[in-house]
């Protein structure tokens, strides 16, 4: 990045002030194209910051933590053109450790082996238009330990709803990640198991943003919240390039889609028979306030 030296002369100082105001609000990043307004999330909780490393992929970016050995977020820019161009998924893929990370910081396949947990994608492979981007999504730098019923159930439904909304809106900026809430956390191998997973969506067309959060268990309930509340929950400023009023306002989010319409594409010719409304499958329940209150109490102690 180009940065000029500032001299303490009145005119230069003014110029410097102007320049610093124009700087993006986000963290330093090698791949701004994956982030809303080109601004990467800023880690606010200093305990989350240590042993983090950005990994830029073709179609998404993660901030990886060598403490949890998971991403702290995985960010992607979904466009209608890309989703429509998306080839059918490759017939063969491979989970793999992220070799660009230091060995002591990265998850290995053996950390997850015999744990009973799924390797849950944060940016899902079905979002991506190219085989190479799909293959990269199987990096363990994009995975968290996730309960299978959650990954295959409500979380897959949220991923499908996100694709459908991106098709409708034309584009969305999306980030997804884990939350680790409470005094004790489960660990498999050397990898921490998140208590919650979340997905934040920003629609440039609507100028609105909002988030889903679910507990990492067999739940069929989800909560929605504003970006500002999610940021408090996870300790990361997720959309630093957006005006505060957008981060505060929240957004009407679609219900997670039923398992029969996960692809976020037009229904394949199955007639009307399978078209059961998804409304009853997953239910909206506002539990985010309880989590935020608990975090608020913990901070006061």
């Amino acid at each position: 990045m180009l940065r000029s030296t500032c001299f303490a002369l009145p005119l230069a100082l003014l110029a410097c002030l102007g320049a610093s105001l124009a700087l993006p609000a986000g963290a330093a990043t090698q791949c701004p194209q994956h982030f809303a307004a080109g601004s990467a999330p800023v880690v606010a909780n200093p305990k989350l910051q240590s042993r983090t490393q950005e990994v830029c992929f073709e179609a998404f970016a993660v901030l990886h933590s060598g403490i949890s050995r998971t991403p702290l977020y995985s960010a992607e820019h979904l466009t209608r053109a890309n989703l429509e161009a998306a080839q059918d998924l490759s017939r063969k893929d491979s989970f793999h450790p992220e070799l660009s990370l230091p060995a002591q910081d990265r998850a290995e396949l053996k950390d997850y082996a015999r744990s009973g947990y799924d390797r849950g994608h944060m940016s899902p492979n079905a979002d991506f238009a190219t085989r190479s981007a799909q293959a990269e999504s199987f990096s363990l730098a994009n995975m968290v330990p996730q309960v299978h019923a959650n990954n295959a159930g409500i979380w897959a439904g949220i991923e499908g709803a996100t694709r459908q909304l991106a098709l409708k809106e034309g584009e969305l900026y999306v980030a997804s990640g884990p939350a680790f809430i409470g005094s004790d956390i489960k660990q498999i191998g050397r990898v921490l198991v998140p208590t919650h997973v979340w997905k934040v969506l920003y629609s440039p067309r609507q100028q609105r943003a909002g988030a889903y959060v679910v507990t990492n268990d067999e739940t069929r309930e989800y909560s929605t919240l504003s970006v500002a509340d999610l940021e408090k929950m996870v300790g990361i400023q997720l959309l630093p390039g957006l005006p505060q009023k957008v981060r505060d306002a929240g957004m009407e989010l679609p219900r997670p889609v039923s398992p029969h319409d996960r692809k976020g594409k037009a229904k394949k010719g199955q007639g009307g028979q399978g078209a059961q409304p998804a409304e009853e499958e997953f239910t909206l329940k506002d539990f985010s306030r309880n989590i935020l209150d608990a975090i608020g109490r913990a901070i006061k102690h």
Binding site: S68, R114, S115, Y117, F138, I181, I188, L192, H260, Q270
Partner: protein, 84 residues
């Protein structure tokens, strides 16, 4: 595709039959998603792939002389939250 898939041989392989995603693991093979077997030649091809997969899984389990009643899972440990 299913020819190269060796059930329970590794933690890495992912293959797809229709919209069914099959993940390999040393202690489990997981099938997620759905598959529509249409009454046509494409449906028959998918059905044969699925049959080949299930036969391989069944054989691997039958051939395991020490097959347990219930697979053993390593319990997750509780650790102090490093981020709290």
């Amino acid at each position: 595709m299913t020819e190269q898939f060796k059930p329970y041989a590794n933690e890495a392989d992912v293959i797809r039959i229709g919209d069914l995603e099959i993940e390999n693991g040393v202690d489990r093979v997981t099938l997620t998603g759905d598959i529509v077997l249409t009454k046509d030649k494409a449906g028959l091809a998918l059905a044969r792939e699925l049959q080949a997969l299930v036969e391989k899984v069944t054989k691997a389990l039958e051939d395991d002389k020490a097959l347990p009643e219930v697979v053993e899972v390593k319990e997750a440990r509780a650790v102090k939250n490093p981020f709290a």
